[in-house]
């Protein structure tokens, strides 16, 4: 695409879009975008790459009959008009290199892929399973015992979701904190998978969402198939549920290139509880961008445990908005960068109401000299969030020379009666512990491996289900073993 001289597009009156773009192929937006509803003045530059991508996403599916989904697409495309591709000069992407995506040709996956037998048998049959392949909900296996009454799990467009669409449409609200990837997902998601828990209902068995990336190209091909899975979880007052998200490549695709751009929105009602586990184990040539946006009403509890070890570029954007007092939030994340990988966590916790309790623990291991990890932990304790108790701790293990980690814990505190702490430590393995093990006859190499593994174990042990823990442990051991055999 040629570089252009941009004239700022000032969107004030409902003018036609066409007149404003100088010497550009007109973006063929079939939807009528009403600019009257846009904020007063929105000055932005339109990025041709983004526009072209938006166009392809538009073309990838037909307009949806559902007004809420169509509305989502409209607002997303509107924001994409004025959102440039993030560059290293944007604070949010200062340390994260997105050239893997930027320099590839992006092909949205338009049809649900053909997948063979999805149930691999290793899952716990007590859980409900949903299989989302390339953004399309392709299969669901209900759990052995039936779900409580009123609980709905399925796609928004399916017929059975009629009853709840009314309830959900009021909850689809505009997200002010999203970035370009959020909007891309909003525009390109073929459907929304909904998990709905009515008031007071406790769902005993967790819901396991398995995201498969089926379409993939060979490494180095510079073509990235793009999938936009979108999941919306609503737990009404007093409800409880456990959600497990697992991102994997489908069999045989372990080294393929693809881009998974997913969004999970969680609305937690008053007094409700959600336990969220997120395991990412995608191909080492893939791009993985995920948004998790959580809204917590008063007295609710949200717990997140994350373990990410895959992806060449893996970025998790976590946004937790407090909508009422006395909430509890616990976030534990573990990132492993064992090759030429970037593991990125950008989290934001916003407190506007008093007496919140939150703890955040982030651990990352960078075990390769080209590996990189990024952490940006933002906590905003605003004016009315008195007696907030917020703690944040990030510990990084740098094991190889030239490995990089960029940590930016940042707390923005306006309230004056709060207890907030943050800590960051970046180190190699502890000498004392290594010596203790050597003095017991364990050779240096084994001791290092054991200590590296145990570093991540603190977070991995918080995963609530043993098969998940074992899976992650196996994965980490395998990655570390491969590393040492490479070095030999």
């Amino acid at each position: 695409m040629s570089v252009l001289a941009f004239t700022p597009v000032v969107l004030r009156t409902p003018t036609s879009v066409k007149a404003s773009f100088p010497c550009q192929p007109r973006p063929k937006f079939r939807t009528t975008v009403s600019f009257a509803s846009a904020p007063a003045t929105q000055i932005g530059f339109s990025d041709p790459f983004v526009l072209q991508l938006a166009e392809t996403l538009e073309d990838s599916h037909s307009p949806s009959p559902l007004p809420s989904l169509q509305n989502l697409r409209d607002t997303s495309s509107e924001s994409l008009l004025s959102t440039p591709w993030p560059s290293r000069r944007d604070e949010a992407f200062r340390f994260t290199d997105t050239s893997l995506i930027r320099q590839s040709q992006i092909l949205p996956v338009t049809q649900p892929p053909k997948v063979g037998n999805l149930a691999t048998g290793s899952e716990d049959t007590n859980f409900s399973h949903l299989f989302i392949a390339d953004g399309f909900l392709v299969n669901s296996i209900p759990c052995a015992s039936s779900l409580p009454d009123g609980v709905f799990i399925g796609s928004l467009s399916s017929d059975s979701s009629d009853g709840i669409r009314e309830k959900l449409s009021s909850l689809f609200s505009d997200f002010q904190w999203g970035d370009m990837f959020w909007s891309l997902n909003g525009l390109g998601a073929p459907d929304v998978t909904v998990i709905y828990v009515p008031a007071g209902v406790r769902v005993e068995t967790p819901i396991h969402l398995k995201y498969l990336s089926v379409e993939g190209r060979e490494g180095g091909s510079k073509v990235l198939p793009l999938s936009n899975p979108r999941v919306f979880v609503v737990v009404e007052d007093g409800g409880e549920i456990g959600i497990i998200e697992e991102f994997v490549s489908s069999e045989g695709n372990e080294n393929k290139c693809y881009w998974s751009n997913s969004v999970l929105e969680v609305v937690i009602g008053k007094g409700a509880k959600v336990k969220h586990s997120y395991v990412q184990n995608q191909s080492f040539n893939s791009a993985h961008i995920k948004w998790t946006s959580v809204r917590q009403e008063s007295e609710s509890r949200y717990e997140l445990v994350e373990a990410s070890s895959g992806g060449k570029l893996s970025r998790h954007n976590l946004h937790i908005q407090q909508l009422g007092p006395d909430t509890e939030t616990e976030v534990s994340t573990f990132h492993l960068s064992a090759g030429d990988q970037t593991q990125d966590l950008h989290s934001r916790l916003i407190f506007d109401h008093p007496r919140a309790y939150s703890r955040q623990l982030h651990k990352c291991i960078i075990a390769h000299s080209s590996g990189q990890a990024v952490f940006d932990g933002n906590v905003r304790v605003n004016r009315y969030a008195q007696q907030t108790d917020a703690g944040q701790l990030t510990r990084s293990l740098l094991l190889e020379p030239r490995a990089t980690v960029n940590v930016k814990p940042n707390l923005q505190i306006i309230a004056d009666d709060v207890k907030c702490s943050h800590g960051a430590a970046i180190s190699d393995l502890e000498e004392d512990q290594l010596f203790y093990m050597r003095a017991r006859g364990v050779d240096l190499d084994t001791a290092r491996k054991a200590l590296v593994f145990s570093f991540g174990k603190e977070v991995v042990d918080r995963l609530p289900h043993s098969y998940l823990r074992e899976g992650v442990e196996r994965q980490v051991k395998e990655v570390l073993r491969r590393l040492t055999s490479e070095n030999e």
């Binding site: 512990q433 010596f435 093990m437 006859g441 364990v442 240096l444 603190e458």
Partner: protein, 332 residues
């Protein structure tokens, strides 16, 4: 039995006149000296009773054998003892600052002997044990250490441990994330590998481990906890003794194993250590107080001052120490 050394079965101690006779020891080391046929433990030989004239023995190369708190069978099977550890004129400095701590330590520990080292704070007792184990904070600047006939100072810490040297740390470090059972399993398998024995899987290892747990009077639920994480001082010390029991070391260096232990815990630890002693295994204790020595009876007590061992005797020295303090040691 042809290797019986010149020290005969007489009950009088004889002081080896010159260091050259150690050659006699080293040659005997190569021949496997099998104690298994000995029906009785060797009779503890009492050194000059009541005499305060212990200075003669400061060379401390005695072939006299002693086993603590064993039955007083008067069997005359006192063969010569192989030296397990020979420290000659060991000098060491702190690696970072170059400050000299050990200024020429001489010590011989034979198989089956229990030694104790006492001394003022800062005399170099802990440094001595750390140097033996190979701690990176210290650098050896002179002297030699021979352990089981091999040069100890050339070996890496893990090799020293595999050779049969065990040190129990004064303040054991926490290793969060590594469970006790995993840690012991790793250490034990490393030892088995060295002895060319097949490694044990977790279940077989547990079967091996269980009686050792009873020996140190610890419950099995502690195995699932992480190494020393959240352990009290006494629990850490007992964990050290458990590791000693599992690894079956030949020479255990116990650095202030009694510090921070209550009376019951101390008895447990002492019982465990005594239970592990055999005619071939030795113990070197570093301690401040008599209390431990009541339970684990040493044959030799050394007083360390200013980086050197200045006095050697038996437990009677301790009485003198408690009455008159360390001053009495240097002046008498």
């Amino acid at each position: 039995m042809a290797q019986r050394l010149s020290i005969s079965s007489s009950s009088r101690p004889s002081v080896l006149p010159t260091p050259n006779s150690s050659a006699a020891y080293s040659s005997s080391n190569r021949v496997p000296f099998n104690f298994n046929f000995l029906p009785h433990p060797i009779h503890p030989i009492r050194l000059c009773n009541g005499s305060t004239n212990h200075r003669r023995l400061s060379v401390s190369r005695l072939a006299a054998t002693a086993l603590p708190s064993v039955d007083s069978d008067d069997s005359a099977g006192a063969s010569g003892k192989k030296p397990l550890l020979e420290v000659k004129d060991l000098k060491a400095v702190i690696a970072e600052t170059g400050q000299e701590i050990l200024k020429g330590v001489n010590l011989v520990v034979n198989e089956g002997e229990v030694h104790a080292i006492m001394g003022k704070n800062g005399s170099g007792k802990s440094t001595f044990s750390k140097v033996l184990v190979g701690h990176p904070h210290y650098e050896v600047t002179g002297g030699s250490v021979i352990f089981k006939g091999e040069n100890l100072l050339d070996m890496e810490p893990e090799d020293r441990s595999l050779a049969g040297l065990f040190m129990s740390f004064q303040s054991p470090v926490e290793i969060p994330g590594v469970s006790n059972s995993d840690f012991l399993n790793m250490a034990y398998n490393a030892r088995r590998r060295k002895l060319a024995l097949p490694e044990l899987g977790p279940i077989e290892f547990y079967a091996y481990l269980f009686p050792k747990l009873e020996l140190v009077n610890m419950k099995s639920d502690f195995l699932n906890r992480n190494v020393n994480e959240g352990f009290s001082g006494g629990e850490r010390k007992r964990n050290e003794i458990l590791q000693l029991a599992v690894l079956e070391a030949d020479l255990s260096v116990l650095d202030e194993i009694d510090s921070g232990l209550d009376v019951d815990a101390l008895q447990d630890v002492a019982k465990a250590v005594n239970g592990l002693l055999t005619p071939k295994k030795s113990v070197l204790m570093v301690t401040h107080y008599r209390r431990l020595l009541e339970f684990i009876k040493p044959a030799f007590v050394h007083i360390m001052e200013d980086g050197r061992i200045i006095k050697t005797g038996d437990i009677e020295i301790v009485s003198l120490l408690e009455k008159e303090g360390y001053k009495a040691m240097s002046t008498s």
